[in-house]
């Protein structure tokens, strides 16, 4: 099973493209792991759209997904 590791959460302001965000996150993770030797994971401080958990939605809401 997955272990949490040391999660570093990054919050991006508006205006930074998704491509740049992705490259930054991976680069930051690589750098932090190299510098600390620790099990660091750099992730975005945002669970993607979990308001849309389908089984909690009505048929009408699902149709608008």
């Amino acid at each position: 099973m997955a272990e949490r590791g040391l999660e570093v959460l990054v919050r991006f302001p508006a205006g930074i493209s998704l491509d740049v965000q992705g490259e930054f996150l991976l680069s930051a993770e690589r750098g932090l792991r190299d510098h600390t030797g620790l099990d660091v994971r750099v992730v975005k401080d945002l669970m993607g759209d979990d308001s849309k958990l389908r089984h909690k939605m009505s048929f009408v809401e699902r149709a608008k997904l």
């Binding site: 997955a2 992705g22 993607g48």
Partner: protein
């Protein structure tokens, strides 16, 4: 645990790998990868949308939302042309959405086939009416109906659908069996141990419908616990699953994915080598190494999006190969970072053992679904 990678099942006169990986049959690409060459995916699991009429409680798509676009017909056709150009051999239209909901679904199957890409598909079956089936079946290698129950009321509960749809989907399955020709028709039950009362009704239903085979598989568990599944609950229902298998007939084989269920998510490998061979695309156009990394939280591993870029440019980009190299490095140990299973699991396991000199290329004949790595 050791898997039996190449255990094949005979279905409708064809030998198929249903619970393992065919990666070992792709010697040329594996050897090129070993030499450090940039190999194209053999197989891709994709969706054309994230929409779905159903709402199965165990659906992994709930944990896979990310920022993305809406795939247009043109995006899709360009993507298929690019995939064929770079060397993708097969695709499953499954991933994290109900692809039959796009109006150009049948066209996308025809287009892939015309480009020489072998296509398999998975669907809840609601939209697969006879006219659609007549268009797609001649071009599909297999068609899977996601049908996680056996009885009408429980079907409605488990899949979050109106009971009337049970009858409509059964009608569509019957039509698919009748029209199948060379396409393998199967049903797929994702087994949440708490819904084990539906296993035997499902197996009996599959037999009655005359599908070529019916699969009983485990639930996936996500790393962020969005899904609530007791992955350890399978041991208690092994007897029921064995009883289901015993219902197999000459026409309909009931297959339990024992390899997947028995290993309970344990991974014996410490690097992820599979994604360059078996890549995934979310129904919002996102290209990512695997489904468990679709969520926006894992943007670090998101490679590109076909709604804004051509797939061939994504494939040839430094970003693509940077992500793949990272996954294969000491920095990414799937034992620690990944959920209990993934589409690439058997492929990863084989590749890891291959690099360690523990397995080599099989000498038995390749199964009929050799291009499909999941």
């Amino acid at each position: 645990m050791n898997f039996s990678y190449n255990e094949v099942s005979e279905v409708a006169g064809k030998e198929m790998t249903l619970d393992g990986s065919n990666i070992g049959f792709h010697r040329e690409r594996v050897e090129a990868w070993t030499r450090g060459e940039r190999v194209a995916p053999i197989f891709m699991d994709i969706a054309w949308t994230r929409k779905c009429q159903a709402a199965c409680s165990f659906c992994y798509a709930q944990a896979q939302a990310s920022e993305g676009g809406e795939i247009t017909r043109q995006n899709a056709m360009d993507f298929l042309e690019d995939a064929a150009e770079v060397g993708v051999l097969a695709m499953n239209y499954i991933s994290d959405g109900e692809s039959t909901m796009v109006p150009w679904y049948a066209e996308s199957v025809e287009k892939a086939a015309s480009l020489g890409i072998r296509v398999g598909a998975g669907s809840n079956g609601i939209s697969l009416t006879e006219p659609v089936l007549e268009r797609v079946l001649p071009h599909l290698m297999s068609l899977r109906f996601n049908f996680s129950a056996g009885e009408k009321q429980r079907y409605a509960q488990i899949m979050g659908l109106k009971p009337a749809l049970y009858d409509r989907v059964l009608e569509n399955i019957r039509a698919a069996v009748r029209l199948s020709k060379g396409c393998i028709i199967n049903m797929n039950l994702v087994c949440d141990p708490k819904d084990s009362d539906q296993l035997l009704p499902f197996a009996r239903l599959a037999r009655e419908l005359g599908v070529h085979y019916a699969i009983i598989k485990h639930c996936a568990v996500d790393p962020d616990s969005v899904l609530d599944v007791d992955i350890k609950g399978y041991e208690a229902i092994e007897g029921i699953m064995q009883e289901c298998e015993s219902l197999s007939t000459a026409d309909t084989k009931i297959v339990v994915k024992w390899n997947k269920i028995k290993h309970a998510g344990e991974r014996a490998y410490t690097a992820c080598y599979g994604p360059p061979f078996a890549l995934q695309m979310s129904g919002n156009g996102l290209i990512a190494p695997c489904g468990p990394l679709f969520n926006e939280k894992y943007r670090a591993f998101h490679i590109g999006n076909i709604t804004t870029q051509r797939f061939k440019d994504i494939f040839h980009s430094e970003r693509y190969w940077d992500v793949m190299a990272y996954l294969a490095s000491d920095n990414f140990n799937p034992q620690k970072r990944c959920p209990s299973d993934c589409m690439q699991n058997f492929t990863n396991d084989w590749l890891f053992r291959y690099k360690a000199g523990q397995v080599t290329f099989p000498i038995v004949p390749a199964p009929s679904n050799v291009e499909f790595l999941a």
